[in-house]
């Protein structure tokens, strides 16, 4: 799952998969990642994992670990 998330983040921001690490991956460290571009990230993640984030969750999806924990919660429920 970790790799798939990295893969999506890399695709959305036009980066190489290898450059995405848990520590270095957040809205503060990736230049292209702003609140508008986050829409693309959320849409891509939702489609990739067949899940839907709630309104309240979307603003939290700004770093790798939160993304990973929310995605795993949702895929488990499924």
């Amino acid at each position: 799952m970790q790799e798939r998330i990295k893969h999506v983040i890399a695709a959305v921001f036009g980066l190489d998969d290898q450059t995405i690490t848990e520590e270095s991956c957040s809205i503060n460290t990736i230049e292209q990642w702003d609140s508008l571009q986050q829409i693309r990230l959320v849409l891509a993640l939702e489609q990739e994992f067949g899940i839907e984030f709630d309104d309240e969750e979307i603003p939290q999806l700004t770093n790798f670990s939160t993304i990973q924990s929310l995605v795993s919660d949702k895929t488990l429920v499924m």
């Binding site: 893969h7 609140s35 508008l36 829409i39 849409l43 891509a44 489609q47 990739e48 309104d55 979307i58």
Partner: protein, 583 residues
């Protein structure tokens, strides 16, 4: 090749990959919107780049459409996403409680903005303008709300106000195709004014694709039918003329009548219809001639290959006889084997399989019709079938002559040249967009571009019609020429002949007439160029054969010069030239 329904991530990655292999001048697209639409960028690029169109898409700012529309000078295409609900914040509910005078005022303000936007985009070759829609805010309400009425009035207005570079895109068709709930994501609409989903944008890109392919010279030209179980139900060789079914009166025939009628409609719009079938020619001929219930008749069909040869050879021969590229052909057949064989042998031909579930056939056929979308429906197209039939007669006569010159002389050829004729602007634009083989520079122009050339005193547009003893070809030759301000030097921007008249040496007579006209205007030097594409190699040496001097050889083009003081005519003596003058 496009994958079926790729995910957003797949499209992003594939688009990045395609970006490194783009060939040709970038096709620049600007998306203007009063909502957030930037998600369309990669999806539209992916969709077009997969079809070898080197698209570069950029989005204007959020709700700065009018300002952004002033900065589209370099765009080849502008797409307008004008969301009615966001004309003022919350219009989808506010419209229903505004007073009549407030609504009128709002409507007039939006109309004025539409006028301004369309005026700003006047120089863009093609504008795709989405119609207004209330579908997603309707909630299946049976009545018409003031919001619906406002929408209808504005749609009526854009129909009348749209200039000729603008094509209206019925966005409701895309929403219907996607499903309302699958088209929108209201989470982002209320928080960020981003309304549409990835699925919507993917379907939208597919929907507008034929309009963009058409201006990039990629419209299909001919639709070739197999016969048994494709044009009719049954096998004519076994069931006989009485045994096959193709009318709505029979249980199996009804879908075939529908498909034949749709094909007849395409033919009316300018598509060439042909037959390619393993059968006895007489059996098929009898049906076409004798059966009054057949919708498709001999007069709709320009070419027939009814024999027992392999289909790939027949399809190649069809392309050859019609003088069109194999990539312009669509072959429709009920045999997966035959289609596979054609796909292996001539991959550029588009194959369409008649579905086993016959009730699906008309719907599949309707999807195929998208390939033939054209921005024009001109008088030329209506008579095209007849002209291709004349071409067949010419080929028969040709076979009986030993020398080509003797044959050409027997045709009693003449050409008529018109200058800057505004009444045929659609046909001129169509020639630039559809001509691939006899086209020296392959510059594609829209009606809007042609309109500007005619208005500009330094540009001259020459067109020619070709007449012979079998008929008139219509407007089949085009030359666009630009004179320098000092009137001594002229540059041929475009020179092309429709494939319908290739092989009759009229190109020499046409070019000769243009050169003579320039000489009369005091021009001393003419420059022309050849720019190679995948399809125009046959004209590589055209200017050299006409005696022009090679001046420069660049990476992508070869430049020729002609000094007029030493010019001697090279017009074939068996072609008469008439000059109709300026209209």
């Amino acid at each position: 090749m496009k994958t079926q329904n790729p995910t957003y991530t797949e499209m992003l990655l594939k688009n990045k990959e395609l970006a490194s292999g783009l060939i040709g001048t970038p096709y620049k697209i600007t998306v203007l919107s009063n909502i957030v639409t930037f998600q369309i960028t990669d999806i539209l690029e992916y969709s077009l780049r997969s079809e070898s169109i080197p698209a570069h898409v950029q989005c204007g700012g959020y709700d700065t459409m009018i300002q952004d529309s002033q900065n589209c000078q370099n765009a080849n295409l502008a797409i307008v996403f004008w969301e009615l609900a966001n004309c003022i914040d919350g219009l989808q509910y506010k419209a229903n409680v505004l007073s009549d005078s407030e609504l009128t005022e709002l409507r007039e303000k939006i109309k004025a903005e539409i006028d301004l936007l369309m005026a700003h985009l006047n120089h863009v070759p093609l504008v795709l303008f989405n119609t207004f829609s209330t579908l997603i805010f309707n909630g299946c309400f049976i009545g018409n709300t003031p919001f619906d009425t406002l929408c209808d009035e504005l749609n009526e207005y854009i129909k009348t106000a749209k200039p000729h570079n603008t094509l209206l895109i019925d966005i409701n068709k895309v929403i219907a195709q996607t499903g309302i709930n699958q088209s929108i994501d209201l989470r982002y609409y209320y928080s960020s004014k981003a309304l549409y989903t990835i699925d919507f944008y993917r379907n939208y890109a597919e929907f507008i694709l034929p309009a963009i392919k058409a201006v990039n010279g990629q419209t299909k030209k001919a639709l070739i039918f197999d016969c048994d179980n494709t044009l009719w139900h049954g096998t004519i060789g076994e069931d006989g003329g009485e045994g096959i079914e193709h009318t709505a009166h029979t249980p199996h025939g009804v879908v075939y009548e529908e498909v034949q009628s749709l094909a007849q409609y395409l033919n009316r719009q300018g598509t060439i219809i042909g037959l390619c079938s393993k059968n006895n020619p007489d059996d098929v001929e009898n049906i076409l001639e004798e059966n009054p219930d057949m919708v498709l008749k001999n007069r709709h069909i320009s070419i027939k290959k009814i024999n027992w040869l392999d289909k790939a050879s027949n399809v190649l021969q069809i392309a050859n006889d019609l003088n069109i590229g194999t990539e312009s052909l669509v072959m429709i057949d009920d045999s997966p084997f035959e289609l596979e064989y054609i796909a292996q042998t001539i991959p550029s031909v588009t194959g369409v399989l008649v579905p086993e579930k016959r009730h699906l056939y008309p719907q599949i056929f309707r999807k195929t019709m998208r390939h033939f979308f054209s921005h024009f429906s001109t008088a030329e197209d209506y008579s095209k079938t007849e002209q291709y039939a004349q071409q067949r007669l010419r080929n028969q006569v040709k076979a009986s002559f030993s020398s080509l010159e003797g044959y050409l002389a027997s045709l009693q050829l003449s050409i008529m040249i018109h200058e800057d004729n505004p009444s045929i602007i659609p046909r001129i634009a169509q020639l630039t967009q559809k001509t691939n083989q006899f086209n020296l520079t392959t510059n594609r122009y829209t009606e809007n571009d042609i309109f500007r050339f005619i208005a500009d005193p330094l540009h001259t547009i020459y067109t020619c019609t070709v007449q012979d003893r079998f008929g008139n070809s219509g407007i089949t030759g085009l030359c666009i020429i630009k004179t320098d301000a000092d009137k001594h030097r002229a540059v041929i921007d475009s020179f092309m002949l429709s494939c319908r008249v290739i092989g009759r040496t009229v190109e020499y007579a046409f070019l000769d007439a243009i050169v003579s006209l320039q000489k009369n205007h005091g021009i001393t030097t003419i420059q022309a160029s050849y720019r190679e594409t995948a399809k125009n190699r046959q004209v590589k040496d055209f200017y050299r054969h006409c005696g022009w001097m090679l001046a420069e050889h660049n990476d992508d083009s070869v430049i020729y010069l002609l000094e007029l003081k030493n010019y001697t005519s090279f017009k074939p003596n068996y072609i008469e030239v008439h000059y109709a003058g300026k209209n």
